[in-house]
Symmetry: C2
Subunit: 364 residues, 2 copies
């Protein structure tokens, strides 16, 4: 029963085993209450302590500046798309928002925002099938815009921003769903930084938003109360019954990151894992075709193809038979995708790298 | 470690022990995958089977007519308040909605709707501190209204609608957050019936909505995609990463209801539990003062006071010492509140009834 696969799914994704085990152990008796953590009110002192721990750990691990507030909301990144626009687009009279299109989710974020104002696509790498982060022309940074939105890591295509753009007076908004907590990030570069929890912060149905205080309080009046940043920040995210289980799991994951040495140590580990995989792919450059331009490679999502679709299928199926689970690429892009979030141990990266070598030798 | 209290919290609330135990047992290896249920994609065949099971079990247990669709959404009842208005208020040109005010959450539902159209309070029991369901004057049923909203069970004050109003051509919308799945309900009486999951359907961060097909497809254009009934219904609620854990727990609870004999059997059990508690309160009519008018009593939430606030406190504290957990009334109404959802075994109702007797004898 304790067989664990190396699970390369794009998310909800593999979690650290000690965090899962602790949840299992205290499942029927949380904090000595004689009840499960999912059976108690969000307003109990015991549960509030969990929320406050999550806030404090986020602040510590991400070195969040004091003028940023934290909002935990229902839903994941997709609810975040609506939240960004509803809360921010009216901060300037033009109700205009700039979007960089670096992949599928960038487009979905822009589509949601277009319900509430004018959306301008200021850069796109769609022409090269999102194989890179597009160049951003500073001349496109319209000072009337309420914000500029980027997707810091693109889950589906496997690219990321290695340095963030200087947007002058236009607040930068980052969707970091698939990489928040995988590396230190300079929060002060962003007006808003947000992420769904189901990659590196636990389980699904929850998002975290870090928002600079001066951007609060100017949401559109039509904003539903449950996705109003200001309301959530003032209520310590307890504006209604929060996703208590996801908040509890987030605390476990954040504590695990802290005891693992914090985000610098986590990043070093992720770099080691990424090097194993990319070096294996590059060793067989005639066989594997990585999707992302080398200078834009994600450290979380690794996308590549073999010479044929039949071999892509064989890679996925043979990998699965060897305990390398969920390697199939997204149906929109095909090929192979391996996601190695924080919860993937280095042994999983080694196993994948070994399989990449072996498969190329057998079929190359 | 397996000490279990009788947990009378208003929610998230006590769950059936077999459901909790099964989750614990298969926690690290769901469906033989070698991964936890919270570590797999919502698009895997194994997880889709969970979603389809939830839909099928809801249809079977609630005898949902074929012209109703099911939407599982992020958030609980409070997100539901926004969803109702965003999805329904524009179904008629007047953009008018009628609300019955039978307690705190009714008011919150109306406040959310007022962001999107004209809200008319057509009945209220606020004058008697919500001790009953107010009379609804048929003359107030404005045929221009898009819907009439009621709260079928009022968690905070402990009342419920024992029969539902005939609203003619105006669709009836019911917030059944604190009673859905506690008794059979005639879904065909409603245009929309919705509930948060954290009382009788598992854990928090998820709501279920049953919506009549002819009401779909006319949401306001500003409706966020993630809370659009039509979108969710078409996508089998997988419009983004759903709250996978809550959906999984819902399946466990629904299966438990089915093997317990379905909703008729569940209702009979809830009536037995309610009789134990109300009869105990009524035996000491000079000591306990139940809040709800006898003809309007909830079968889920039991609200009452002793002669003094000090005795209310003593009741809560002495009860807690005896393993009767979370009996304090909501801070807005004071006194004592015991919630006995489906997960409360009959032994818990007996223990509470016994304590009600004993406390009155000691302090009466």
């Amino acid at each position: 029963m304790n067989r664990r696969v190396f699970n390369f799914t794009a998310g909800p994704s593999m979690l650290p085993l000690p965090v899962l085990r602790r949840a299992q152990e205290e499942w029927l008796d949380f904090a000595g209450l004689g009840a499960s953590v999912i059976e108690i009110s969000h307003f109990t002192p015991e549960f509030k302590a969990v929320v406050y721990d999550v806030e404090a750990l986020l602040r510590e691990l991400l070195a969040i500046p004091p003028n940023y507030r934290i909002a935990l909301a229902h839903g994941g990144g997709a609810m975040g798309f609506s939240m960004v626009a509803l809360n921010l687009i009216a901060t300037r009279p033009a109700r205009k928002a700039l979007y960089v299109n670096s992949g599928y989710f960038s487009g979905r974020a822009a589509a949601e925002a277009s319900k509430y104002g004018t959306v301008v696509e200021v850069a796109s790498s769609e022409g090269s099938n999102f194989d890179r982060i597009p160049e951003l022309d500073a001349a496109r940074l319209d000072a009337d815009a309420s914000y500029l939105h980027i997707t810091t890591n693109n889950t589906m295509v496997g690219t990321r921003w290695h340095s963030f753009p200087d947007t002058g007076g236009v607040p930068l908004v980052g969707d970091a769903t698939s990489e928040l907590l995988s590396r230190p990030m300079d929060v002060s570069r962003f007006g808003v930084l947000y992420a769904g929890a189901q990659k590196n912060m636990g389980t699904s149905g929850l998002s975290v938003t870090l928002v600079r205080e001066d951007l609060l309080g100017r949401a559109l009046p039509i904003t539903p109360k449950m996705i109003n940043y200001d309301q959530l920040a003032r209520d310590h995210s307890l504006s209604n019954t929060t996703n208590t289980f996801a908040v509890y799991m987030a605390r476990g994951v954040l504590e695990w990151i802290k005891t693992s040495g914090g985000l610098a140590a986590i990043e070093a580990q992720n770099e080691r894992k990424a090097a194993l995989v990319y070096e294996a792919l590059d060793r067989h450059a005639g066989f594997y075709k990585p999707h992302a331009h080398p200078g834009h490679r994600s450290r979380m999502n690794f996308t590549f193809k073999t010479p044929t679709e039949a071999l892509d299928d064989a890679f996925v199926n043979e990998g699965n038979a060897e305990g390398l689970y969920a390697l199939r690429g997204h149906r929109m892009f095909g090929g192979i995708r391996a996601s190695l979030y924080n919860g993937m141990p280095i042994e999983g990266a080694r196993a994948l790298a070994g399989f990449i070598d072996e498969f190329a030798r057998r079929h190359g």
